[in-house]
């Protein structure tokens, strides 16, 4: 783990360490997955602000709630699947019901677990958690965005779920930019079609836009890093100013970004919408990129869907 790693988990570690060394109220909790993001380093540098719970995620979320109700800002780090599903009732009843100031980091979101298989994928986390009142959901597109999300989460009062990959996610942002929770980032302007993506597959949407440009199709690329609260205005503007929308995400097509976008479109301004994601199925065994390829979460499929709308 080099200091300059751009992996979301490494950026998370470095950012939270930097903030926690200045603010003794910031805590980090983990349930025996700490080594993967450098928890030992954290224990050395902020020993009084780390809590290891062992393999007991429900207890971990309860402890985080107690810390939050005592003025602390706990970051809870665990695999996305176990956090969003095993500890779901604690997240809903302990954290969200009392609007406790707990921040969650869901590791290996989507199918980033690759060959570890379906037990370790989280293709439902967004759908499950977006139905909880008071919960905000951020799916950063790269490490730089994760760093900004962590800072924003500290400033935000209330629960925040941040979904990250496993490691070595593509780099989206070469330069600094303005990050605001609930405000989408238009990465590329365009007037023919809007490609709306979230998470590390934003990179595929950008590649698709390049491909389309060669054919004279001018694609807008929007990164929706905050799925809840959703930036409705940006979605509506995309519907008004382009001929349709393709959504791209690493999630079950039920419950994810595409569903949220399609709901806004149905309510506000009807244009064709095509959703790309994992169909309602458990996925095949394969490496992360192989799984994405199998289900069409690729630049070429995004471009195909865009062509169908434009032609």
């Amino acid at each position: 783990m080099s200091e300059k790693s751009t992996s979301m988990r490494d950026v998370f570690r470095e950012t939270v360490l930097e903030l926690a060394e200045k603010n003794p109220d910031i805590f980090v909790l983990t349930a025996d997955v700490g080594v993967s993001f450098g928890f030992p380093t954290m224990k050395e540098r902020i020993p009084k602000q780390t809590v290891e719970t062992g393999i007991a995620e429900q207890n971990m979320v309860g402890i985080a709630t107690g810390l939050a109700h005592s003025g602390k800002i706990p970051f809870v780090f665990a695999h996305a699947f176990v956090l969003s599903m095993r500890a779901l009732e604690q997240i809903r009843t302990d954290v969200c019901y009392s609007n406790a100031n707990v921040k969650f980091v869901g590791y290996c979101g989507g199918v980033a677990g690759g060959v570890l298989g379906n037990t370790h994928h989280a293709l439902e986390d967004i759908g499950i958690l977006k139905s909880l009142p008071n919960m905000s959901i951020i799916v950063p597109a790269d490490g730089k965005e994760m760093g900004k999300a962590v800072r924003a989460a500290v400033e935000h009062k209330g629960p925040v779920y941040m979904r990250i990959g496993r490691s070595n996610e593509p780099i989206i942002y070469q330069n600094d930019y303005n990050f605001e929770m609930g405000k989408a980032v238009t990465l590329r302007e365009g007037k023919d079609i809007s490609l709306i993506a979230t998470g590390l597959v934003v990179s595929e949407a950008l590649k698709a836009a390049d491909e389309l440009a060669e054919e004279g199709i001018d694609a807008r690329v929007i990164n929706i890093h905050t799925i809840k609260p959703l930036d409705r205005e940006t979605v509506i503007r995309a519907a008004e100013e382009t001929r349709g929308i393709v959504t791209v995400e690493e999630h079950n097509l039920w419950g994810g970004l595409g569903e949220s976008v399609a709901t806004v479109i149905a309510e506000e301004k009807c244009v064709p919408v095509k959703r790309i994601g994992i169909p309602d199925t458990f996925v095949v065994i394969g490496a992360h990129p192989e799984i994405l390829e199998r289900y069409g979460i690729t630049a070429s499929n995004i471009a195909d869907k865009a062509r169908e709308i434009v032609s």
Binding site: P24, T65, H69, P74
Partner: protein, 282 residues
């Protein structure tokens, strides 16, 4: 231990008032967990009117003791105690379970002053209490964290995840009280899913364990004194033997009163019994 007779008498009277409030609230609402409320009423009374360092004028006082009713369904005496302590007006008790009331069937910490955390789903209180106890240590604060659980609640796995963690972190500022009324919805706890041997279980998890008669004010007073005075770096648990429906003869040890409101006649009879007990104290 020699106890202040006046204190004991005052607490016994208060327990009777709280029982009466609970009956009246459930009568008016037509619902409520009456039996599981009555079983821990004496513990509730000693905590709120003798042990807990809390300030109704300043419910968010940073140094207050933290009390969590993990068995959130037992909220009738909690609401009564908070009102009688001055956290909110007594008239509010009349709104229990009415539309838009702050006092629902399970306590909501954003709505009710003095309620530390929203509870109702079992097995949640102890993990949250651990978080508060760790925060107290981190802030070098002397407040105590106390949670009351049901005995049936101990069937939840999270209780034992938390039991491990509290001992691991040597949380000597954490005290659990188990309201062992021996009954849950489907019948006697030992028949539904046996949780014994309870004392051995907690001991083996690394806790300091005490037992008491949870419906005897004198025993509760002296046990709490011992537990709060205990010096070793261990979390503390008190197994409180109680009677479900305690204080109303026809409700005692009757599982049907787990969730049932009295009708007018039953409420009259219950209040007559409670008032009779009060008269004997004078």
């Amino acid at each position: 231990m020699v106890q202040d007779a006046e204190l004991v008498k005052r607490l016994k009277k208060m327990a009777a008032f709280i029982r009466r409030d609970s009956i009246q609230m459930s009568l008016k609402a037509g619902c409520g967990h009456v039996g599981p409320g009555l079983s821990w009423t004496d513990i509730c009374t000693v905590l709120f009117f003798h042990q807990l360092r809390i300030d109704p004028k300043n419910p968010d006082w940073l140094n207050r003791d933290r009390f969590i009713l993990s068995k959130g369904h037992g909220c009738l005496p909690l609401y009564s105690a908070l009102a009688r302590k001055g956290f909110f007006p007594m008239e509010k008790l009349d709104t229990f379970c009415q539309l838009d009331s702050c006092l629902g069937g399970h306590p909501d910490c954003l709505a009710v002053p003095g309620v530390e955390i929203s509870t109702g789903s079992l097995g949640h209180g102890l993990p949250i209490a651990i978080g508060m106890a760790i925060a107290a240590k981190s802030d070098n604060k002397k407040y105590r964290v106390i949670t009351v659980m049901g005995d049936g609640e101990l069937q939840e796995g999270t209780v034992w995840e938390a039991a491990m963690a509290a001992a691991h972190y040597r949380l000597d500022n954490l005290t659990g009280i188990i309201d062992c009324n021996k009954l849950e919805i489907d019948g006697p706890v030992k028949e539904v899913m046996n949780i014994e041997p309870l004392k051995d279980k907690w001991k083996s998890f690394g806790w300091y364990v005490e037992e008491m008669d949870g419906n005897d004010i004198e025993d509760i007073l002296s046990t709490l004194e011992r537990v709060f005075g205990y010096k070793e770096e261990k979390p503390r648990i008190i197994i409180a033997h109680t009677i479900k429906g305690k204080g109303v003869s026809f409700m005692e040890n009757q599982v049907v009163w787990h969730y049932k409101a009295p009708d007018n006649d039953e409420a009259r009879q219950a209040i007559r019994e409670i008032d009779l007990a009060l008269t004997k104290l004078k």
